[in-house]
Symmetry: C2
Subunit: 308 residues, 2 copies
């Protein structure tokens, strides 16, 4: 029997998404659960298994119709052995052989990887970075994550830990970062830093969405905050561009919704700081696949066997 579908799982600190995709990566069905509704690791694993079985059944399919399961996960992963080292934002996970566990419970092939790697794969194959050989793809959120394509292929580094663009240091005397070091890019422009700056400026709690809207409507204080973010980001990215002579940088995640004001200031800072050849060559794009990048990327990884 021909395998016609892939199940993709996108696990985040907030949501657990499970979807059915055809082999051209069209999402045919999906369900979204709250990650926090699962109290423990065991519950979460069972929740994933139930949800996958439910999606198969509700679509009148059989396991023999399914090529396999692809999972994007929010933390460091050994993609080769299928082991989750830990999740920074979901407690109770330490060195969990998740691939083997799911394989046994589901009786299907399982691929899994870190969500930043999954996102760059999706954007490279079907999104903003399609056709470019050497690409950095960033997720701008609470953390600043990233994934790298070199010569058209996902670049992992030895420990599958490449791509940590949020931890490019940009000031030896900078603020302390969550990673324990000083002056990392993330210590300047993580979501919480921006929200704090906005609260200080507007004397009230203000969300990133509102801050983006204010800037789009011409509010000078909001524009100034986004320009500051863009300046730090462009400065750090100039180093990456000088080092890797990249073809494209793709930026997604909640912060990318700030849109033009942010992207313009990133470009200005990057072009001002980078060497002329490298700075001139690189293109800066907004991620195209939005919230579905995780699901689409997980399905691509499964189908391509990109992990192996």
């Amino acid at each position: 029997m021909t395998k016609k579908y892939i199940i993709a799982v996108d696990l985040g600190g907030t949501n657990l998404k499970v979807a059915l995709l055809d082999l051209k990566y069209n999402i045919k069905d999906r369900e979204i659960l709250s990650t926090r509704s699962f109290m423990e690791k065991e519950e979460l694993i069972s929740g994933i298994v139930y949800s996958i079985n439910r999606v198969i059944k509700y679509n009148n399919l059989d396991k023999t119709d399914i090529l396999g399961i692809g999972l994007g996960l929010p933390g460091p992963i050994d993609a080769k052995s299928g082991i989750v080292h830990f999740f920074p934002n979901i407690p109770g996970w330490k060195e969990v052989p998740l691939r083997d566990i799911l394989k046994e419970r589901l009786g299907l092939p399982v691929s899994l990887d870190n969500d930043a790697k999954i996102m760059v794969l999706a954007e490279h194959r079907l999104g903003a970075a399609k056709g470019f050989a050497n690409v950095l793809c960033m997720t701008l959120g609470t953390g600043i994550g990233g994934g790298i394509i070199i010569g058209g292929k996902l670049y992992r580094g030895f420990n599958n830990a490449a791509g940590e663009v949020g931890h490019l240091p940009i000031n030896e005397k900078g603020p302390l970062c969550n990673c324990g070091s000083v002056g990392c890019l993330e210590a300047y422009i993580g979501n919480n830093k921006i929200i704090r700056a906005a609260r200080k400026e507007f004397k009230r709690q203000i969300s990133l969405e509102e801050l983006s809207l204010l800037a789009a409507n011409g509010n000078k204080a909001a524009i100034k905050i986004w320009c500051n973010v863009g300046r730090h980001l462009g400065f750090a990215l100039a180093g990456v561009v000088n080092l890797l002579n990249l073809d494209a940088i793709v930026m997604g995640g909640g912060m990318a919704n700030a849109g033009k004001v942010l992207f313009d200031s990133v470009k200005e800072a990057l072009r001002g700081q980078a060497m002329s050849v490298q700075g001139f060559h690189v293109k800066i794009f907004r991620a195209k696949l939005g919230n579905d990048a995780g699901l689409i990327g997980a399905a691509i990884m499964m189908k391509e066997g990109a992990v192996l």
Copy 2:
């Protein structure tokens, strides 16, 4: 007739070296000329041609014994088309199709590339980085150059401009760099910066060699200067290591002669700043091939056809 030799050329701002190597990269003969003794571009090209012909003749060889010519050059090169964009330290060169010129005058195959790329190739194939998959190799001199190996292969980037590790920015409010931007690593630790710091400290002109010797003999002021260099260097390299999850970093060039005091402080700063997985994994080595890296690398490039 079997080709038994390669001619390698290592052109620097100071010296023009031409050598005969066998196919195992043993240097059988060499001559060293002063680059400055050639007043113009035409003279320098003729000097290279004469020197190559002389080396062939003095070794009782014939052009039919020569596999080809490999050249390492001190500036940005289009390795594919064989065009020299310019040399920062040799005036009069602009968009020179040097490969075609030499091919025609010599009647032999010619490969050429930037000296930093040549050096990383040499250190990766025969030197300190042998056997490592993902490597950054740096030349610490007046400028801070670099080359990158990814997956065992020379990584060029789109414009053959990858590897500019000297232009990683480490402070938005840092000193102006020769590249025109601010706060680049090179603006902190280029040779001239170190010599200036030493002159200020010792109230007299002092060479890098003497500064290295003083540090090796326990002079505290000299040690402090090298530790400062190592701190900046390790800080910048932490970003590269976080981004690329490298296996090894190799450091050569005049500054590397400072030895243990410099390397220890680089390691300390890097391990302190990098993320734990990446920082723990990467190895830091001193370049092994010394002043011959340029000749050996140029011969390797020629033989491997690494440019094509």
